[in-house]
């Protein structure tokens, strides 16, 4: 293990596996999630949703509902008045605010079955449900379109009269469901393809899948009598919720305080708002707190899944296996509003490889489905399914080992990715090497079994973060950070501060603050918290150490550069002073007399995030009678830079792999001819359970620590979901002897492929 960014010093806390500081509350039921709050006078909010996939909202009659005793507030789209075209940058990319607002509450049209058209707040859940039933909505049903290529057809029903495809010249004069066409690339693809010794082609399809967080969206909104308000919610970013909610309701940001509850999973799906503006609008109307919690049915109907897609790929290579050209077209579903992750997918799709001639075409296509939301490495797993399946086919055609062909073409330091980065301090080749040397790779396989490998890439980001470190009078420390903890990041924050301060981990507690108690931060997502917020926390801890040394120098009356800080103690290096070392407790106990409280807060915009490269091996066994595929063994390797808390880094790899396996084998949105989702429940939207999976072995590669992070950390959360779709598909390919080009590889589909021979 390289010391890299740790500067050669021995680490005492970072790299260990302490119990997380927030753990006891989570295993005893004390931790408070969004739906766990009770406030005096609290009302229940409920939403009325469109049963139609596409319809004009002609009239909404709320009189009967308003007359029901116990109903205290009702809102519809008419209550949300927002100017056109306002874009906001909320730290995770620009979003059309108007789209978010209309997604929260429909205006002239219902754009998908499940689209919110009205909301009520009442004194009990039963009364709220009854009030929703009493709201009469008159619809004019319109033709709908669901699938991406159908939505792209020239005669498709149009969702937005003012949507003209961006990125096309000359500018189109007819509206379309294609929100944007993206074209990027380099070199001479047609020439290189013509000169290639071997060309692999394929058309791949994936279905929409949901992030599948077990906790439905939940919030409590409480409006005060002077226009100020408080919202408690489960989200991936309290500042993001504040920005979106306040702007949708036309409030100054400082009038809205957002308190992050514990969050029961997000995976990107909670980096937006659905309920908060509605709950706050209801609360403002009646002056009482309003709790809103989605049912699981609502989560499926009305919160963003990720895109389904149609992809076409062509790979050209030499007979030695060197990939010289790639032509990739990605058509991604955006749901009812523009904004699929097709752009990021184009940029990430080929980043694992050093390919000279690349042509990427992406289409962002709307249709009558819920607006897609981010899902862990948004866009990348889908594209990787096509790319990694094609690379697998290429290896097979050339009779090359699938890891060897990836190593031959693999990204390494100095390689220029098509999206603009030149890789530095990446350990993709080392990761491939580690996988090749792992016993899993050469373990024998039995009948009906197959093995697949695949790799994946994700950018990881830095961004705005704030961290604060306070020293208590008894010499302990509290770390306050700005980011909701979805995977154990509080532990990592505490560990990095403890390491810097020289304190044992038990003396450093970590907390996540609300929007009034800490400086601004971007959301928890983008694999950025350990990197960017960790950087802020570490810098704050370093400032505190500098302050502690200054006070020791003051107390000893010596120069500050003669003070050494080690193991939470100040040592005097001035030989002329006959003084004893001062512990942090001794210095902190006298803080008032030496300048005041010992505390520091650092806000920054972290640059230099290290990308994530992942390589997975998957073994499957396919039952030839039922088409059922069982994953019998799985190994996930990743370039992690440095694992601050290895258990939680392993957890990210295992969790991402499990989601990818579900995506590959069983999960999909099934629509009926009426454009209504047919499987909005966990019974029929089949996610992996414990009996579906084996142990998931992990390999953490720390060969190239990130020199931009104080401890060498790279983001790890998203890359693990990128390889599994193709890893599973490549394993099934080997097990049954033919390739299936569509996901999920559910039993009927696999059986059909087997029976076709």
């Amino acid at each position: 293990m390289s010391d890299g960014a740790a500067g050669g010093r021995t680490l005492k806390v970072v790299g260990q596996r302490p119990v997380r500081p927030d753990g006891a509350d989570k295993v005893t039921g004390r931790a408070q999630f969004g739906a766990d709050f009770h406030l005096p006078g609290m009302l229940t909010g409920r939403i009325k949703r469109s049963p139609h996939a596409h319809a004009k909202i002609v009239k909404i009659d709320t009189r009967a509902a308003a007359a029901l005793p116990g109903v205290k507030a009702i809102v519809t789209g008419a209550n949300f008045v927002l100017g056109e075209g306002e874009d906001i940058d909320h730290g995770e990319g620009a979003t059309a605010l108007l789209d978010v607002a209309i997604n929260c509450m429909a205006r002239e049209k219902a754009l998908y079955a499940g689209h919110a058209v009205a909301a009520v707040a009442a004194t009990s859940p039963e009364i709220a449900d009854e009030a929703v039933r009493l709201i009469e909505v008159t619809y004019e049903v319109l033709p709908h379109v669901i699938e991406v290529e159908a939505a792209m057809a020239p005669d498709a029903p149009l969702l937005h009269a003012n949507m003209f495809t961006k990125g096309v010249t000359p500018k189109p004069d007819k509206p379309s469901n294609i929100a944007q066409k993206i074209v990027m690339g380099r070199g001479d693809v047609p020439g290189a393809m013509a000169a290639a010794d071997v060309v692999i082609e394929g058309r791949y399809e994936t279905a929409a899948v949901h992030q599948g967080y077990i906790e439905p969206h939940a919030c409590v909104a409480s409006a005060g009598a002077d226009g100020q308000a408080t919202v408690w919610c489960s989200s991936q970013g309290q500042f993001l919720v504040r920005t979106l909610t306040a702007k949708i309701l036309g409030m100054p940001l400082s009038d809205l305080k957002v308190i992050p509850a514990e969050i029961g999973g997000g995976f990107g799906g909670k980096t937006t708002v659905y309920l908060e503006p509605v709950a706050l609008a209801l609360s403002k109307q009646c002056g009482r707190p309003v709790k809103m919690v989605m049912s699981r049915d609502e989560v499926f109907h009305a919160s963003g899944p990720t895109s389904g897609a149609v992809m076409e790929i062509k790979l050209g290579a030499t007979s030695e296996g060197r990939i010289t050209a790639c032509d990739l077209t990605l058509k991604y579903q955006a749901g009812a509003f523009a904004g699929s992750p097709v752009n990021a997918a184009c940029m990430a799709a080929l980043a694992c490889y050093d390919i000279e001639n690349i042509a990427l075409t992406g289409y962002d296509v709307v249709s009558n489905r819920p607006k897609v939301a981010a899902y862990r490495a948004p866009g990348a797993p889908i594209a990787a399914f096509a790319v990694e399946s094609a690379v697998d086919d290429l290896a097979r055609k050339l009779n090359m080992d699938p890891l060897d062909i990836r190593r031959l073409n693999g990204a390494r330091d100095g390689v220029k990715a098509v999206y603009g980065a030149t890789f530095r301090s990446v350990a993709f080749l080392e990761t491939l090497e580690a996988v090749k040397n792992h016993p899993h790779y050469t373990a024998p396989l039995g009948p009906n079994q197959g093995r697949g490998v695949a790799c994946g890439f994700w950018f990881n980001i830095g961004g705005e973060s704030t961290g604060a470190v306070h020293i208590d009078e008894d010499g302990g420390a509290t770390v306050v950070s700005s980011n909701p903890d979805i995977g154990g990041s509080r532990a990592a924050m505490a560990m990095m501060a403890a390491e810097t301060l020289g304190l044992p981990i038990e003396r450093v507690r970590a907390t996540v603050a609300d929007t009034t108690s800490i400086g601004f931060s971007g959301s928890t997502g983008g694999s950025r918290v350990t990197f960017a917020t960790g950087m802020a926390v570490t810098q704050a801890a370093e400032k505190v150490v500098a302050d502690l040394k200054r006070r020791a120098a003051q107390m000893w009356e010596c120069e500050v550069d003669k003070v050494e800080w080690r193991d939470a103690t100040a040592f005097c290096l001035d030989p002329s002073k006959d003084v004893k070392p001062l512990t942090i407790a001794q210095i902190a106990g006298r803080a008032a007399r030496t300048g005041g409280p010992i505390t520091a807060e650092v806000s920054l915009n972290a640059q230099g995030a290290g990308p994530g490269f992942a390589v997975h091996i998957c073994d499957v066994e396919v039952d030839p009678e039922t088409g059922r595929t069982t994953v019998t063994r799985y190994t996930a390797a990743q370039d992690v830079g440095r694992a601050i808390h290895p258990s939680y880094v392993e957890g990210q790899l295992q969790g991402g792999a499990a989601q990818g396996i579900g995506w590959a084998l069983n999960e999909e949105y099934v629509y009926g001819p009426d454009g209504v989702l047919e499987n909005p429940s966990f019974l029929d939207y089949r996610m992996p359970v414990a009996s579906d999976l084996p142990m998931i072995d992990t390999i953490l590669i720390e060969a190239a620590p990130n020199p931009r992070h104080p401890f060498g950390a790279k983001g790890v959360g998203e890359a693990p979901i990128v390889p599994p779709l193709a890893a599973v598909a490549n394993a099934v390919r080997q097990a049954i002897g033919k390739r299936i080009y569509a996901l999920p590889l559910s039993p009927p589909r696999v059986l059909e492929a087997i029976e076709q021979g």
Binding site: V27, T28, H38, E262, R296, G488, G651, Q654, Q659
Partner: protein
């Protein structure tokens, strides 16, 4: 919705509450007794986040009506630690980092406890099937299984800990 007086035992204590005739036991635990450790993930018995133990049997509290709790002995996550001392399962979950967001954790712990109460020496496969009614989206189950294996071993060696963890 009409309400009836329900008298029942929760985590060893006798309690009374007004339960709605159409209210689930889960909602009654959360809203009447303010025991919010049991969670609603789906409301249809598919995710196990609401798991409690009723008369020694693992139950999805979202599938049980509040008045059905009358006279029963109910164990929830809040009763798993006794006098502030965590049950070996809780400790092993923390040691193994068997939770990330923690939302499914109370349900998983209840299911694991119900399993070990009946089968103190389960194989890995038996644990996986014993927990198959509990969805977790964060962990991929690996560390959860390892935590249960170690907790089972710990309980087999020191039966007194098991008694301390059981409802009184």
């Amino acid at each position: 919705m009409s309400r009836v007086l329900v008298t029942t035992t929760v985590n060893g204590e006798s309690v009374e509450f007004l339960g709605g005739t159409r209210q689930s036991l889960l909602d009654a635990l959360r809203d009447e007794l303010r025991l919010t450790g049991s969670k609603e993930g789906c409301g249809t018995g598919d995710c196990g986040a609401c798991s409690v133990i009723v008369d020694g049997r693992l139950v999805c509290s979202c599938l049980m009506l509040a008045p059905e709790a009358e006279g029963k002995r109910i164990e929830t996550i809040e009763g798993m630690a006794v006098d502030g001392h965590m049950h070996p399962l809780q400790r092993q979950f923390l040691e193994h980092a068997a939770l990330q967001c923690g939302f499914c954790t109370p349900g998983l712990l209840m299911a694991a406890k119900a399993l070990l109460d009946k089968n103190p020496n389960p194989t890995e496969t038996e644990i996986r099937y014993g927990l198959a009614g509990n969805l977790c989206r964060c962990t991929g189950y690996d560390k959860v299984i390892r935590a249960v294996i170690d907790a089972a071993a710990e309980l087999r060696q020191a039966p007194d800990t098991k008694k301390a963890g059981a409802a009184r």
